[in-house]
Assembly symmetry: C2
Homo-oligomer: 213 residues x 2
């Protein structure tokens, strides 16, 4: 990684090489964030290619509003590539703490629990942002420029893959939490994000597929 504080400055090839390697990061969490960010970017693209076109003047206001939201989500999801690395590194560092004395054991266990909470909330935030991309995609697939409507379909597929991918990291980290109240609350939030997303993804995909066929 050329700049650890900003893995988005890594090249695509470099990121993929890192992903494939045995290095602990980047991993699936970073891939999930990129999937979500690609989804948001593609919604922005469809908006940008619809706004200003005479044929689409009636939906211009709606798409301008969506563009503001999709660009904010893209920035948020791009930042999450770094958040995932940071959260993962903190978990690894906590497991690496000394455990020679009882005092050290207690401190290590407490630290592990602390960083596991962050490592549960980071992918959950990714799930939330991906779900927002999916929700925005519905209107874009309905109202966007027909010449690039397939990109609205790719957007929803990417965001849905990002949501379900990040969900796996929520499960992994929530499982290790002693604070079951915290864990169950996060898992409840996760199911609320996941539940409607599958049917919505299929609905939007079918809308797009019907337009391109």
């Amino acid at each position: 990684m050329t700049d650890k504080t900003s893995p988005a400055n890594e090249t695509i090839q470099g990121f993929l090489d890192g992903l494939a390697s045995s290095a602990p990061t980047p991993g699936g969490g970073g891939a999930a964030a990129i999937s979500g960010a690609m989804g948001a970017a593609l919604l922005s693209m469809v908006c940008n290619l619809t706004i200003g076109k005479k044929k689409y003047v009636e939906v211009e206001g709606d798409l301008k509003e969506i563009l503001g939201k999709s660009e904010a989500l893209r920035a948020e999801l791009t930042g999450m590539i770094a958040d995932d690395v940071e959260a993962f590194d903190a978990v690894m560092a906590a497991y690496g703490l000394p455990k020679g004395t009882d005092e050290e054991k207690t401190a290590r266990a407490a630290k592990i629990q602390e960083v596991l909470k962050v490592a549960t909330d980071v992918p959950l935030a990714c799930c939330r942002a991906c779900r927002q991309v999916i929700d925005l995609a519905e209107a874009v697939a309905e109202k966007g420029n027909l010449n690039v409507i397939s990109d609205a379909g790719v957007a929803v597929l990417s965001a849905h893959a990002g949501l379900r991918s990040a969900a796996l990291n929520v499960y992994v980290n929530a499982k290790g939490l002693d604070d079951r109240g915290f864990a169950e609350e996060r898992l409840k939030q996760l199911e609320e994000l996941l539940g409607p997303a599958g049917p919505l993804n299929e609905k939007i995909y079918e809308v797009v597929k019907a337009k391109v066929n």
Copy 2:
């Protein structure tokens, strides 16, 4: 794009900026190739973190074989980011040919048909490679190191999103083909790739989810 012959040398941030912009490329086809390449890379990662571990010595031979295939697929899919740009640019160039005389009109129409065939085969090749990633993911999810098994789940989700995303571009370009025999043959191949992929994706996701929960 810093180097048009190799968009994989673009930074992630630069690629996302280009995707979100009103520039014609990169678009959904490039995003599909990246999704597939991330899927292949994550399978390689799980293989790399399983091979050489005492606990997994029994599956080491299988995972070494898979690693060879996943790395070949990763290289192929990474190259397809450029293929998509090239195919799209060729279509745009053909539509931009002069159409003043009857001779020009005939030549332009023939060129459009020629490049649309390529623009159908390029995303179809992406679909095929993504499907191969999905097929490989099944064994990785079963045999891979449990500590990183969630990454096998992210791999299959990414590859499946890549497959369905590229499929939309096959539909778009096949629709414009006058040679219906060619088009129908490609659409038949596409359905054979897509059909079993959905159930397989869900099956592998459930295998992984059960292991991380």
